[in-house]
C-alpha cells in the first residue's frame, strides 16, 4: 500500500509536468491551429537560461522568474518573425517549421553549453515525508502543488480578464476578432509568449530530476503530445486530466506489469492512445470537430 501511494504521488508530479507542456501546446494550437513540436526545446532553452543565472549568483526563484519573463519575450518574437509567415499556409508545413525550430534550439543549446549533463538545483527540498505509511518526496508534492496553482492562474487569466477574453476571441475566429478592433497579431504573439512562459516553468521543475541536457524534454514532449491526443485538442481540462492519468498509469505499469518495467514505460501512453483511438477518436474529453466544406 505504501508503495502504491508513493507511485501515485510521483506519477501525479510527473504528470503535472507533462500537463504544463501539454497546456502550452493546446494554447498555441487554439490560437494558431498549429502543433508546436518546439515547445519542449524552448523549455530546455529556458532551463539553460535559469541555470546560467543561478551560476551567475542569483537566487533560484529569481532566476526562474527572469527566465519565464525572457521566454515570454522570445516566444512572442518567434511568433512574429518566424511562425507568422507559415500561419496562413498549410498546417503540415508549419509543423515541419516547428520541427526545424526544435532542431535549431537543441543545436544552439548543445553548441553553447555542450551536450554533457549539467546539475540543476531543485526548488524544493529533497527529503521525504511519511503519508499513510508511504515515503513521499517533498519535491513531488511541491511540483504538483506549484503546477496546480499555475493552472488556476492561467484559468483565471483566460476566464476573468480582458486579455483572456481577447485571446479566446482570436482563437475562435481571427477575422471577426480583427473586425471588432482586436490587435490580432499582438494577441498571437502574447499567446506564443504565454505558452513559452509555461514551458519555462515546466523546464525549471523537471531539470533537477533529469539533469540538464539539450534533449531533456524530448520524452516529456512525447508524453505531452500523448496527453493532448487523449484529452482532445479543444479541452484544456481534459488535457490536464489525461496528463495526470498518463503519469500515474505509467508509474504503476512500470512496477506492477512485469513486461513493461521502467525502460518501456514510455509505451504506456501509446497503448492507451491506440485503445482510445479505436473507441473514441475525438479524445476522452474533446468534441468531435465537424468541418464545413
Amino acid at each position: 500500500m505504501g508503495q502504491f501511494i508513493q507511485l501515485v504521488v510521483d506519477g501525479l508530479s510527473n504528470g503535472s509536468i507533462y500537463a504544463v507542456l501539454a497546456l502550452a501546446i493546446v494554447l498555441v494550437n487554439q490560437a494558431t491551429g498549429m502543433i508546436n513540436f518546439a515547445q519542449g526545446g524552448m523549455a530546455v532553452l529556458s532551463a539553460y537560461v535559469t541555470w546560467r543565472l543561478v551560476e551567475a549568483g542569483l537566487p533560484l526563484i529569481v532566476a526562474i522568474l527572469l527566465a519565464v519573463l525572457a521566454s515570454f519575450i522570445v516566444g512572442g518574437l518567434l511568433e512574429r518573425f518566424l511562425m507568422r509567415r507559415f500561419e496562413r499556409g498549410d498546417p503540415d508545413t508549419a509543423v515541419v517549421v516547428t520541427i526545424g525550430l526544435l532542431t535549431l534550439i537543441t543545436g544552439v543549446c548543445g553548441w553553447l553549453w555542450t551536450y554533457n549533463n549539467q546539475q540543476f538545483p531543485s526548488l524544493f527540498p529533497l527529503h521525504t515525508v511519511r503519508i499513510f505509511g508511504a515515503a513521499v518526496s517533498v519535491r513531488s508534492i511541491g511540483t504538483f502543488l506549484a503546477i496546480v496553482a499555475i493552472m488556476l492562474v492561467v484559468q483565471a487569466l483566460f476566464l476573468g480578464t480582458k486579455l483572456g477574453l481577447a485571446l479566446r476571441a482570436v482563437a475562435i475566429n481571427p477575422e471577426s476578432a480583427a473586425f471588432s478592433g482586436l490587435p490580432v497579431g499582438r494577441l498571437l504573439m502574447a499567446g506564443w509568449g504565454l505558452a513559452a512562459a509555461l514551458g519555462a516553468v515546466a523546464g525549471a521543475l523537471v531539470a533537477p530530476q533529469l539533469t540538464l541536457t539539450p534533449g531533456m524534454m524530448d520524452t516529456a514532449l512525447v508524453y505531452a503530445l500523448a496527453a493532448v491526443i487523449l484529452g482532445g485538442l479543444s479541452s484544456p481540462v481534459g488535457v490536464v486530466c489525461a496528463a495526470w492519468l498518463i503519469g500515474v498509469l505509467e508509474n504503476l505499469a512500470a512496477v506492477y506489469v512485469h513486461f513493461i518495467g521502467y525502460d518501456l514505460k514510455v509505451a504506456v501512453p501509446f497503448i492507451l492512445i491506440f485503445v482510445v483511438l479505436i473507441v473514441r477518436p475525438q479524445g476522452l474529453f474533446g468534441r468531435k470537430v465537424v468541418v464545413r466544406v
Binding site: 515541419v96 543545436g107 553548441w111 518501456l264 514510455v266 509505451a267
Partner: protein
Amino acid sequence: MSLATGLLSRAWVRWAITAVVVVVLFVLPLQLDEYTNQNLARIGVFAVAVLGLNVVMGYTGQVSLGQIFFVGAGAYVTGYGASHDWNIVLVFVASVLVPGVIGLLVALAAARLGGLAIAMVTIALPIVGVPFAKRLSDFTGGSQGMSSAFSNAPGWTGLYNDQWQLYIVLVVGGAVFLLIRNLVRGKYGRAFAIVKDNEAVAASMGISPYRYKVLAFTVASLIGGASGFLYMAVIQFTSPETMSFGHSITLLASMVIGGAASILGSLLGGAYYVLVPQWSNDIDPNLTELLQGALLLLTLLLLPGGLATLPRVLARTLRRTRTPDPSERRQTPSAPPAPGRASVEETPTVGGIPAQSPTERQEQA
C-alpha cells in the same frame, strides 16, 4: 533548350539515355575507390528511406516522424534472418513485410485522427522503438546491437566487398525507385495528391482519404523495410541507436531539403543525410544539430520545394532579370487570372505552400 526537349520527346533517345545511365552505373563501382563506393552505397540506403518518407509526407501530405523506425526494424529482421542462415530472398521478403505489417497496424489507428495527429502519434515510434529494441535482446542483441556479414562479396565474383555492396544497393534501390516512380505517376499518385490537397474533395470524388492515408503509410513502411535491408547490407551493423529520435528528425530534414514530392529530391535527400553530417562533424561535432536546424528553416523560408526545385527557381529568376518585358508588367494589376485558374494549375508545393508567390503566377499567366 528546344532542341534538347525535342530530342527528349523521342522514345529511342530516352531509351539510349537510360541504357547509357545503366552502363555507367554498372561500370562505376569498378572504377571508384573504396571510400567513394561506401559513401555512394550509404547515400543509396538513405535515398530509399527518404523516398519512403516522401510517399507518405511529400506525396500524401501526412507528416510522419516514425520512418526511421521502419528502417531499424528492417535492419533487425535482416540481421536476425541472416544470422540464422535463412535464404537471402526470404530475408529480403521478411525485412520488407515485417515493417510493412507494423506500419499497417499503426496507420489503421493513426489515420483515424485528423491531419496533425498522425505526426503526434508517429513521433512515438522512435521513442518507444529504442527501449523496445533493447528489451528484445534475444532477437536484437540489446544495446550491443547486432552485426552480420551476409553481404560480403562471394568468391566467384572476384569483387571487393564495397563493390558488391554498391551493386546490391543499385539493384534493390533502383528497383524500389522505379516502382515508386510508377506508383506516384499513376492512378494512386493522383489519389495521394488529391488527399493531400483537399480531403473533402477527395471524399466527394469517391477517394477515401482514410484508405489512401493507410495505403501511403503502409507503402512508406514497406520501403523503410527495404531501406533497412540495404542498411544491414552496407553497414553490416545495427543497434537501437539506428532508430533514435534524432535520426528520425534528420531523415525528415533530408526529405524537405532534398525536395518534397520529388524522386530526384529523394536522391538529394539521401546525399544530404550522409554527407552534410560528415562535413559538419569535421568542423565541430557540437555544430551538427545547429546547422541542420538552420538549413531546414532556411530551406522552408527560401526554397520551399527543396533542392530539387533549385534549377527551376534559378532559371525563373534569371529570366526575370534578363527580360523585363513591359507587356507582362502592364498585365499584372489589370488582368488577374480567372479565379479557378490558379488553383487548377499545378504549382510545386511543400505541404501546401506554393513554391512561387501569387504575383509570379500572374506574370506567367
